[in-house]
Symmetry: C2
Subunit: 152 residues, 2 copies
């Protein structure tokens, strides 16, 4: 019976992810009324330029319905516009509008600030160890998909 949830890796990782994410999420949530899927889609489009919804999903690991809803939300905020593809009418190309690019610019400034704050808080060694560990996980586990359930 020597089990403690607090030291179980899946639990610990989720806790850490929440701790680190929330302070940043609070920024885009309150400043721009943006949800996390919207922020991810905005970030993808901002850093890579024109993409399709499917590409956004692949880049930021979001389910296609999440992407669909995020794209609609960004469109309603007039931060993104859709264009049809000349050759394949199933596809929609997505581009940030000038307003969208402005928000993106402000957001990445906040992101950089936050990264610096984290670097200050978690001194260099903690941060490096964390990044190294995360790299290992990504490299090792990213292969096999494993099915998803209601966020549990």
């Amino acid at each position: 019976m020597d089990f403690r949830l607090e030291t179980f890796l899946p639990y610990r990782l989720n806790q850490a992810a929440e701790l680190v994410s929330q302070r940043f999420a609070a920024q885009y949530r309150t400043r721009y009324r943006m949800t996390r899927p919207e922020w991810r889609a905005l970030a993808a489009l901002g850093s890579y330029g024109r993409m399709t919804a499917t590409e956004i999903g692949a880049n930021s690991s979001m389910h296609k319905t999440k992407v669909s809803r995020a794209v609609r939300a960004l469109e309603e905020k007039h931060w993104l516009k859709r264009s049809e593809d000349a050759a394949d009418r199933r596809i929609e190309h997505l581009d940030l509008t000038p307003a969208g690019r402005r928000i993106y610019g402000e957001m990445i400034a906040l992101a950089h600030e936050y990264e610096q704050e984290l670097a200050r808080l978690l001194d260099a060694s903690g941060l490096e160890q964390l990044q190294a560990g995360l790299a290992t996980i990504e490299a090792t586990l990213a292969v096999q998909p494993a099915r998803r359930g209601p966020s549990d």
Copy 2:
């Protein structure tokens, strides 16, 4: 414009947490029809014995409504029973039933297996670095609560 979501710590941590969590969550989801909050509550009660709902929430970082629902679900599965407190009638003491303890035992066996599998996959150094990094985050950020939003 040198921003990439894929290297942004909040995003990376969330990805890693999902990768690591899902394979384990698949176990209790399919074997016992248990959700994550239920698993956490079961784990807390299994390892610490009698607790109140508030204590479970504090121990496993769950919102009190989540705990309330998880407790009800476990109760409906007959894995847990409530008892009133002699002195304070607001409080409910929660204990696992024999059936609950049996499930708990099976679950921690699975948890240990999974930890070993992870240790194999992520060789020793990756795992150690990760644990060290997580410890730093917990120690540093666990202090200030930061408000929560709809899971974003």
